[in-house]
């Protein structure tokens, strides 16, 4: 059907139109902006689910912008593609599903959470722009297009972090730090894209992948890309912006920022697997990514135990869980050139790492939303001042228990499934890495027991006497995330077989990625 072919473009076009119409609607009626944004993001979620069903059953989809037909990658007489195209394979749509769900729930949560009246239309406009840019980063098949969406994402998220900055000074300071880090990393990504263009005269990822030789300039480009994209993703030597930015942003924005950091992590995997594949020295680069992962896990969790601010503690845990993803995929990369080890434990390690991306977005989103609910009712984020809130906020307590159990890796929830995949396969690669991972998991559980005890348990405090439960839209968003966590925890096999395994295979097999574009569909 005609509309069916255009769905990859509609996924970004509908929120983009809504983002541009939101200020006009805001001039008529302020509250309608929120409902309008939620409808646009809901439509985007439906389109993403339809595209996911199509990609997982038929194969990778491409969409060429501005050409006579959406599938015409090589017009007559040309040997390489010249137009910007979206190339959606199983890994891209996996990240796209995470983005769609997280943004939709963030918009629903914001309907009740944001109570400032004067900047509200710009808030929803920026939230829609952030969603558009995350979809663009995950679905695109062109390197320069990825840079443009990366810049849009960083600017939209900086403006949203500074949203509370009209009365307070700390959000503005956090926004400044994040802006400097984002600018440097995006400009260095542009430098690497320039290196690729100067060498090969094409900008399309599949086209570069088919002609790449691992020359000295390519090594420089790989080094630049991996380090600056790790800077945007919050891995350890360059993680300094993460605690400030995640703690000072409004709670639904923090949830969407976690998904945006994971989009940069996806970009590392796309560059290393689909652009270079086995032309690079997989053992060396794999070990570098594994070292990033180990440092992130360990330093993240040890810095988290001593925090007093609840959102800063959760932000350090986000750094730590990013380490798990880097560890899993790094082990898969290290054995990529070795087919026996790849089939024995490499594929399982990558499945664990990539499944952990989705699980982390779900349970970390839930934890940030509960922290936002606590801030909404009590007005403070300091754990020393909170106490005994389980008496007043029953739903929030249950959701927090579910989130904390999931992040610690306890059995009926989804954290256990992905962590078990990582432990088993990484043990066969090198036992020490697996033991460090398990130790970090124990420390994670310890710090969340501390948070639960400080914030929720204890006698009723007199200053919280009129604290009630949070409004219904916030409870709805948290409930949806909890249901997904429980469902993924009870049936992980279903998710791994249908969503994660095709994603891993589409990363590992580079020739399928390039043949779709250059085979001349």
């Amino acid at each position: 059907m005609k509309l069916f072919d255009h769905i990859p473009a509609l996924i970004i076009a509908v929120p983009l139109l809504a983002a541009f119409l939101a200020p006009l609607i805001g001039k008529i009626n302020k509250k309608a902006t929120g409902v309008f944004a939620t409808l646009a993001l809901g439509l985007s979620l439906i389109f993403t689910i339809i595209l996911a069903v199509k990609v997982l059953s038929v194969g990778p989809q491409i969409y060429v912008f501005g050409e006579k037909s959406p599938f015409l990658t090589l017009p007559s007489g040309l040997k390489f593609p010249i137009r910007i195209m979206f190339q959606v394979d199983a890994m891209g749509i996996f990240m796209g599903l995470i983005t769609a769900l997280v943004s939709f729930l963030g918009a629903i949560y914001s309907l009740a959470f944001i109570d400032k009246k004067d900047g509200l239309d710009s808030y929803y406009s920026l939230l829609l722009l952030l969603t558009v840019s995350m979809f663009g980063m995950e679905l695109t098949g062109d390197l320069f297009n990825f840079f443009v969406f990366l810049e849009i994402a960083s600017m939209a998220s900086v403006s949203l972090i500074c949203y509370r900055g009209t009365n307070l000074g700390e959000p503005v300071e956090a926004g400044f730090k994040y802006m400097v880090v984002s600018s440097i990393s995006a400009l260095m990504v542009l430098f690497a894209v320039g290196i690729f263009y100067g060498e090969y005269d094409v900008l399309n990822i599949a086209a570069i992948a088919s002609v790449i030789k691992y020359s000295q300039l390519d090594k420089i480009a790989l080094g630049i890309l991996v380090s600056v994209l790790a800077m945007k993703a919050g891995a350890v030597p360059v993680h300094m912006w993460t605690p400030d930015a995640y703690s000072e942003a409004p709670a639904p924005i923090t949830m969407i920022l976690v998904a945006a950091s994971q989009a940069s992590l996806y970009a590392i995997f796309r560059v290393v697997f689909s652009l270079y594949n086995i032309t690079l020295n997989t053992l060396a680069v794999g070990w570098i990514i594994i070292i990033f992962g180990l440092l992130s896990m360990f330093i993240g969790v040890t810095m988290a135990i001593i925090q007093k601010d609840i959102k800063r503690l959760m932000a350090y845990h986000a750094i730590s869980q990013t380490g798990y993803m880097l560890l899993g995929v790094g082990v898969g990369l290290a054995v990529l050139a070795n087919p026996i080890s790849l089939s024995q434990y490499g594929i399982t390690a990558m499945e664990g790492g990539i499944f952990h991306i989705m699980n982390h977005a779900m349970y970390k989103g839930l934890l940030f939303l509960t922290a936002g609910a606590l801030f909404f009712r009590t007005g403070t984020r300091d754990l020393d001042k909170m106490g005994g809130l389980a008496h007043y906020m029953k739903y929030t307590t249950i959701f927090f228990i579910i989130g904390a159990a999931a992040i610690a890796g306890l059995p009926p929830f989804n954290g256990f499934a992905s962590k078990l995949l990582i432990y088993e396969s990484v043990y066969k690669f090198n036992p020490l890495l697996s033991i460090i991972a398990m130790l970090v998991s124990i420390l994670t559980l310890a710090s969340f027991v501390k948070v639960f005890h400080s914030a929720f348990l204890g006698p009723k405090l007199p200053q919280f006497k009129e604290v009630k439960e949070v409004p219904r839209s916030m409870v709805l968003a948290m409930a949806v995330l909890s249901c997904i966590i429980i469902f993924f925890g009870l049936f992980p096999d279903l998710i791994v077989k249908n969503l994660v395994h095709p994603a891993v295979m589409s990363l590992v097999e580079q020739f399928k990625y390039t043949s779709i574009v250059l085979g001349g569909m």
């Binding site: 255009h6 473009a9 076009a13 983009l16 139109l17 200020p23 969409y63 912008f65 501005g66 006579k68």
Partner: protein, 162 residues
């Protein structure tokens, strides 16, 4: 921000109209000569910045209204994305007006020629939309930043700002 001397104000009176017209010329001829939406919009916004510097911020804020700029910016953006959607019959962003004989639809003559403005389809319309958006957006930025010249340290009393 105080206004500047009489010589500067008189030269501004003569020049700022030509600067705005020159900016619009660059926007509309984007498909023939170097230029286009962003470049022309930046030239128009620099005319606004010239007005701000020579007349001072208090007087210019009565002439240039931020709400109208905001409305123009949203209109420009909506026009751009609507033009992209109109090509959705073939693909998103398809140039459905080029070589079609209607508005901006003449065929492009290959080789050396003075350039026909009636060509290139959707491109001049998108240039106009982007130019509208850029000069309004940069105008808002310049007007709001000039309002920041009234901030003083938090301990002392802030001056009257309007």
């Amino acid at each position: 921000m105080k206004e500047m001397s009489k010589i500067v104000r008189n030269v501004t009176n003569l020049v700022y109209g030509f600067a705005i017209i020159f900016g619009f010329y660059i926007i509309v001829h984007g498909h023939l000569t170097p230029g286009g939406g962003f470049q022309g919009g930046a030239v128009v916004a620099s005319a606004f910045a010239l007005l701000l510097i020579s007349y001072g911020q208090l007087k210019v804020k009565q002439i240039l209204n931020i709400n109208i700029f905001s409305l123009l910016e949203s209109c420009g953006l909506t026009m751009f994305i609507t033009l992209a959607f109109l090509g959705l019959g073939v693909t998103f962003f398809y140039n459905f007006l080029a070589n079609s004989g209607s508005w901006f639809g003449n065929m492009v003559i290959p080789g050396i020629n003075p350039g026909d403005m009636n060509t290139a389809g959707v491109l001049p319309l998108m240039n106009i939309a982007v130019g509208l958006e850029v000069f309004s957006g940069l105008g808002i930025i310049v007007l709001i930043m000039s309002g920041g010249a009234e901030y003083t340290k938090k301990k002392e009393n802030p001056e009257d700002d309007r």
